[in-house]
Assembly symmetry: C2
Homo-oligomer: 351 residues x 2
Amino acid sequence: MIAAMVTAYPVVLTHRRPKPPCRSVVCVGLGAMGEGIARLLRERGAYRIVAAVDPNPHPGVEDVLVHDGVKLVSSISEVPAQRADVCVICTESGIDRVLPTIHWALERRMNVITTAEEGLPYPWTAYRGEAEALDELARRNRVTVLSTGINPGFAMDVLPILLTAACRRVRRIDVHRANDLSSFGASVMRSFGIGLPPDEFDDAVRAGTVVGHTGFVESISMIAAATGLEVDEIRRELSPIIATNARVAPHATAPPGTVAGCNDVAEGLRAGEVVIRLEHPQQIDPAAEDVRTVDRICVDGDPSLTVVIEPEIPGGAGTIAVIANMIPALIDAPAGLATMDRLRLPAGVFA
Amino acid sequence: MIAAMVTAYPVVLTHRRPKPPCRSVVCVGLGAMGEGIARLLRERGAYRIVAAVDPNPHPGVEDVLVHDGVKLVSSISEVPAQRADVCVICTESGIDRVLPTIHWALERRMNVITTAEEGLPYPWTAYRGEAEALDELARRNRVTVLSTGINPGFAMDVLPILLTAACRRVRRIDVHRANDLSSFGASVMRSFGIGLPPDEFDDAVRAGTVVGHTGFVESISMIAAATGLEVDEIRRELSPIIATNARVAPHATAPPGTVAGCNDVAEGLRAGEVVIRLEHPQQIDPAAEDVRTVDRICVDGDPSLTVVIEPEIPGGAGTIAVIANMIPALIDAPAGLATMDRLRLPAGVFA
């Protein structure tokens, strides 16, 4: 018989936190992400949705809002001139297309959190002019603006950055994120070229209709700035994943020989040497060819670390969670343009 | 032939950070951790060690310091009355034994970072009185105090907290950290009872000579506070790992049938149900019985996440790195008692 020592700690855990104040929220964009965030905020009880904007809401979206008696309007110009604590913007990926909505919210002194992937998650290098203007506008209105989500915002930047804190030295960071695109809608299927014959893939990339992942420059820039692993060049290679077996998803199919997804690689180099490599194959129905979906991070350093998350952190649910969970840190942050690496440790908020 | 699209981003990455200011450091305690931290800070160039304290320095420690012409003294009372930016304290684990040194440093207006495991990494629940006094003293002197390391401070608290940011809901968190004690010294061997016959293990635990891991209450309290997964009870079970094959390490051996380490489990419960479970087997020579060393984190939630780091994040190198890497965040933080969950995202500092 093996000895065992059981200790009941003489610990009185009286740290029950004060109930957080109820925050008012304006939701702009009620697609899959925007609706998911609105539902989660409502569930948590600490948020009150005071206005919602979507020009083409799908049926059922009103359910998210009706308990507050909030009317869904089709444009921000119809939102009553009422301040709110936070504006959640889930409309466009492109920085030029989302900036007018962000400006509108900042000028109304609302803190802004957005899923917009291009530039905003770490704009200080590739979009420095926009970053400075946004920072200035947010400071003038004494509010904070943040773009985040699972990727960019977590899986390929925040998580590897955190791991480097356990390293005395780092030579290189490799991140591999293989995920399943099946659950996404028709516009995502088009932007990955799902079902195209291989010879049409290049044309579609050149035409800008197939774009693959948005967020590599943002993630590499954030890692470089947070850790000092600076890069002077970013390279990217986007290639098609060709189906061997038939692939099937709700909004697209890929017969054998056609495009089932994109293998997307970006490298950050310093003096010609790769110091950060992000590899992000995304495809429909990966199980049809026994492709494992996984997040894998390898930090080559002292010590070296290998982290495997299998299956991968799901993109949709994860983005909804990250946005909702970052709102308290956003509200507490100093005024200006925030990035994930400078805010307090991200954490789920389940109180 | 598969099509491929290579893009060289038109990105000018001019975000070369300004060289950080050189910080002055007082090092108190130059054992394995203290010496490793001093060496790393010297290597990084952005630190100047202005005083060092150790009553029993081992040969070679002077090498760490001699370049600065700093004299090693045996007690803090011999340190010149000179302010420094940071005081690194690596002396004792116990809160009562380390507090006088922390008070000394805070009263001299030095920011303090320490490896002391007991209480300080998250003292707001189990050591509330000490926490409030320390916070007050640090604020009055306009400096910040932080206790951290790999565990507590990273592997079993900060990392699981970060993962919950990707979850809409969390029911329970399980962390398993199996590590190799072989590299530690004689005092660690004694505190885990290495080589004891099983019937002496219970007596040694009762006598307080075998203590196992220090940090469970701290990690559970930090997770609970950061995420709102509150607990009203913490239970702990410490049992011996009995060697089947002979185990050998530099400072101890465990013949078959004797104690090769401790299996150490702590559970945080709410209304009788486990919501946080930390399992931490630590032993010498795990390879002798094909025991895998690993960090494994399972978040049961929406989504659920399983993270595996194999081999485990090494305790010694990792603690040295975390302490050195947190100094810039410590200096930038508001005055008072800091905890890892409230500081900015930890990151390696390799500029």
